[in-house]
């Protein structure tokens, strides 16, 4: 159990007076959006009094909680507001939220910390300082009331935004004292609550952002309308690394609504028109010549060849090593070897990439869905050619993110580049689905050769994992690599930390032969646990089978030193009835993993008919995220992660031909539908003492649990994905 945490607050950190808030408000006034649209889009425009950076309380007791991370469906907006509310002791029914802009944050020395919303970091990366923000505001509000009454703060208590002077029974509300509180110096120290005293953290409160999503009022960036706004449709070179050679604008200049045809950076062309449909229609008619560049011979087959060479190459980076795996395998009574392959996949957010930009010689503003406001601002600054204090980004709720809109702001760069060619005019750039499919930052491709050895009792004596394939960091952020190693490649197989291997293997070697094809990789919900958990959990099942052992018992034996992972595995096994007969024709499979600091497991129940048709009937899932801020939203995330993970398993594949992606839309890049959706039983079992992720971890276990159940049903071990390419008829 966590003890009371004494937090030292630097006075400077919380020296935020209403003057700076006023500056923030003037930025708000600069928005050309209508007030209602701005509000609906969640863009910051609150009026003072601002008690501190996180908390604004209006005279009617409305509490506005500032949220730096982005809401893209994962519920972080509500969870973060719960954290602040817990310490603030305000009335939850009067809580609303708003996004500060990254420009405001920069002007205030990054008072809101990181805006990055990825790696399941929203809650676990900021719980400490957002709770602190709530606690500091509470202390200032109580002090303001005590000062007004001329009493000691120790005689005052607070609940649901009402401050009571206990000896006299006098009461006041946050709304009445917030203006005075805003003038007080913040306390040097505040104490955060002991988790056992939490009232709203851990409660399944409803999301704060549901109502507008039911009636069409929720404004996504694609819905923005501004006076004088024009619309742009874009095409970038379909070959990776290729450039725009030329285009013949004269062929479309006179088409309805067309205002301008512009070169965008060095690889794209856009048509700007009154409406987007006109822009797209003209772009489809525009003659374009591409300089296809150096990658026209790259294909799925050539990439496979590259990866195959890596599977047996002499040199590789080591991610995890103990004992002497070569010796152990040599001495094994039985060795098992298998090679797996995981394909490129696209994020395919429902809302295609888009951004709206307005550029003048002294200011550039962007409105966009982004998982990282500060990165979007950097992209804006770079493309605008203006100093940082003359740029800003207004975040809008995302129509899905999944990693596509965090590290990459190509769509922002393009929008600014277009707007720069039409000074003073706001331009909304919206990609077609086809553009979105062809210009992703794809889930990287890897293969893995797994070799395991068993002794005569069927115990695992050695395991050698050789991963060959693409590094995300080498392409996206080489600065995060150490000595050339991309540690993310080993997620779920590392010796310790957030992505620790769930097993104790006496002799273990996990390696990565980095092979980077010219297809841009990116962070994709779950990142590398998607394939690594498939490799590990499928192969552990293969080993159990070779040892003639029950897959649960085989795992348990290797998990004595991983009690929390063992606990989630046991929980799903018990709930699913592992060891007891399933209904006729139903077969079960297990998987367990530690990812993004959470312990997760799944037991899938499937059937496969004589024609090889798979039906996933039910998945029992368990997660131990340490602390569970909002259990009903955790359940929603587990179910959602299964849809993402199972869509990938069943259908997800981008193939490469002539240096580009072959898929174009949902007809050849399908996603799972209602009819394929299994029943999901979620066990949320927070054990306390740590903060684990929610949005991503469980994605790891859906696919391997289903694959192991398919093996149980058919005797077939599928090692190449997606399953749409596999014949599942019984072996």
């Amino acid at each position: 159990m966590m003890k009371n945490e004494c937090v030292n607050i630097s006075r400077r950190e919380f020296l935020i007076r209403s003057t700076t808030a006023g500056a923030g408000f003037s930025l708000g006034l600069y928005l050309p959006l209508s007030a209602s649209m701005t509000m609906a889009a969640g863009v910051a425009q609150s009026t003072p009094p601002e008690v501190n950076a996180w908390v604004v309380i209006q005279p009617d007791d409305t509490v506005i909680i500032r949220i730096a991370r982005s809401e893209m469906g994962q519920g972080t907006l509500t969870g973060l507001a719960q954290l602040v509310t817990e310490e603030l002791e305000c009335d939850w029914s009067k809580v609303t939220t708003e996004y500060p802009t990254p420009g405001q944050s920069l002007a205030r020395k990054r008072v809101w910390g990181s805006f990055a919303t990825g790696g399941s970091q929203g809650i676990r990366g900021s719980h400490q300082y957002v709770r602190k923000g709530g606690a500091v505001a509470r202390a200032m509000l109580i002090e303001a009331a005590a000062e007004a009454w001329g009493v000691s703060t120790e005689e005052c208590s607070v609940a649901a935004s009402v401050i009571t002077h206990t000896p006299t029974g006098r009461t006041t509300t946050y709304g009445k004292v917030s203006a005075a509180a805003a003038e007080l110096p913040p306390p040097f120290e505040v104490e955060l609550k002991d988790p056992k005293d939490w009232k709203i953290i851990g409660k399944s409160v409803k999301r704060l952002d549901t109502v507008d999503k039911l009636n069409g009022k929720q404004v996504f960036a694609t819905d923005l309308q501004m006076p004088g706004m024009l619309n742009a449709s874009i095409k970038a070179c379909p070959t990776f690394g290729g450039k725009l050679k030329s285009f013949d604008a004269s062929k479309v200049n006179k088409m309805p609504g067309v205002r301008k045809v512009v070169r965008v950076e060095d690889d794209a062309v856009a048509v700007v028109a009154d409406t987007w449909w006109q822009a797209k229609t003209a772009l489809d008619a525009l003659p374009i010549t591409w300089d296809s560049g150096p990658n026209t011979k790259v294909s799925s087959a050539s990439i496979d060849q590259m990866l195959d060479e890596g599977l047996s190459a002499k040199d590789a980076f080591v991610g995890n090593k103990n004992g002497d795996v070569k010796k152990a395998l040599k001495g094994a009574v039985k060795t098992i070897e298998a090679t797996y392959r995981y394909p490129y996949q696209n994020h395919a957010t429902m809302e295609p990439m888009n951004a709206t930009a307005r550029w003048t010689t002294d200011r550039c503003e962007v409105w966009c869905p982004t998982q990282n406001g500060e990165a979007a601002l950097q992209a804006t600054i770079d493309a605008a050619g203006l100093p940082a204090n003359k740029c800003d980004v207004h975040k809008i709720h995302l129509g899905g993110g999944f990693g596509r809109r965090g590290a990459f702001h190509d769509f922002v760069t393009q929008a600014v580049s277009i707007a720069k060619q039409m000074p003073g005019t706001p331009v909304k750039l919206l990609w077609t689905r086809e553009e979105d499919m062809m210009h992703g930052h794809y889930h990287p491709i890897t293969k893995a050769k797994m070799v395991g050895g068993l002794d005569k009792k069927g115990n695992l004596v050695g395991l050698h994992v050789r991963i060959s394939g693409q590094s995300i960091l080498a392409s996206v952020n080489p600065a995060w690599m150490k000595n050339g190693v991309d540690i993310f490649t080993f997620q779920g197989m590392l010796p310790e930390g957030d992505h620790e291997i769930s097993y104790s293997v006496p002799n273990l070697l996990v390696e990565h032969a980095m092979r980077n094809p010219p297809v841009p990789p990116g962070f994709w919900r779950g990142v590398n646990i998607n394939q690594n958990a498939i490799y590990m959990e499928s192969f552990v099942d293969e080993l159990a089978d070779a040892a003639g052992k029950d897959p649960l018992e085989f795992r348990r034996k290797l998990m004595a030193s991983h009690p929390k992972s063992l606990a989630v595995l046991n929980a799903v096994a018990k709930k699913a009835g592992w060891g007891k007969p399933a209904a006729k024709g139903i077969y079960r499979g297990l998987a367990v993993c530690k990812a993004f600091a959470s312990h997760v497991a799944a037991c899938a129940e499937v059937s496969v008919d004589d024609d090889g048709n798979l039906k996933i009937h039910r998945i029992v899932a368990a997660t131990d995220p340490g602390y569970a801020v909002n259990p009903q939203q955790i359940e929603a995330q587990v179910e959602g992660s299964f849809v993402f993970g199972l869509s990938a398993l069943l259908y997800g594949e981008c193939t490469i031909k002539n240096g580009g992606v072959e898929q174009r839309n949902f007809h050849n890049y399908p996603s799972m539908l209602m009819a394929q959706m299994p029943k999901v039983d979620v066990i949320v079992m927070p054990s306390g003492g740590f903060w684990g992720g929610i949005g991503e971890p469980t994605i790891a276990v859906a696919a391997p649990a289903v694959l192991n159940a398919i093996f149980a049903a058919t005797g077939k071990r599928i090692r190449q994905f997606p399953l749409k390419n596999a014949d599942l008829r019984s072996a």
Binding site: G75, G216, T222, D223, G401, E639, N665
Partner: protein, 155 residues
């Protein structure tokens, strides 16, 4: 100039008549509840009702429409957001990112009009919208809950 009947009102739309209904709604009438996602009639994010039937508006050109048809968008589904499906969706916190949800709700509303108490199999057959966040199980529960709300309201 085309005349259409949208959410009970006659409106004039001045666009090339090859323009899909979706873009006329979004760009001419400011009705942005129906969303663009695939543009080829697969994903269902753009779903509206034409004479009570769920239609993927991204592939219906204005030329195929006239004022005799009743077109309903998410904005016109209920007077104040109180359609049984909207109530059920709020009760169960169905949406995640929410981008596909107007289409999801319009699809479900058309289903309930034809079939006031659909089975799971009926839902599987009729609700073929894509949701990448993965709200399917809550969508299913939401449809069943809306059936209950409907019955309660009628009794």
């Amino acid at each position: 100039m085309s005349k259409l009947k949208i959410n009970g009102k006659l409106v004039d739309i001045d666009v090339d008549d090859s323009t899909p209904l979706l873009w006329a709604l979004r760009e001419q009438l400011g009705l942005t509840g129906a969303k663009y996602s695939c543009g080829i009639g697969i994903c269902g994010s753009c779903t509206v009702h034409i004479n009570g039937k769920a239609v993927r508006s991204c592939i219906v050109p204005i030329s195929a429409l006239d004022a005799s048809q009743e077109i309903t968008t998410i904005e016109g589904l209920s007077a104040d957001g109180n359609h049984p499906l909207q109530q059920a969706w709020a009760e169960l916190d169905v949406p995640q990112c929410g981008y596909c949800q107007p289409g999801m709700i319009m699809t479900a509303a058309a289903l309930l009009k034809d079939n006031p108490d659909p089975s799971d199999a009926d839902i599987d057959t009729n609700v073929t919208n894509i949701c990448r966040c993965g709200t399917f199980n809550r969508v299913r529960s939401g449809i069943h809950l809306a059936v209950d709300i409907n019955k309660r309201e009628k009794s």
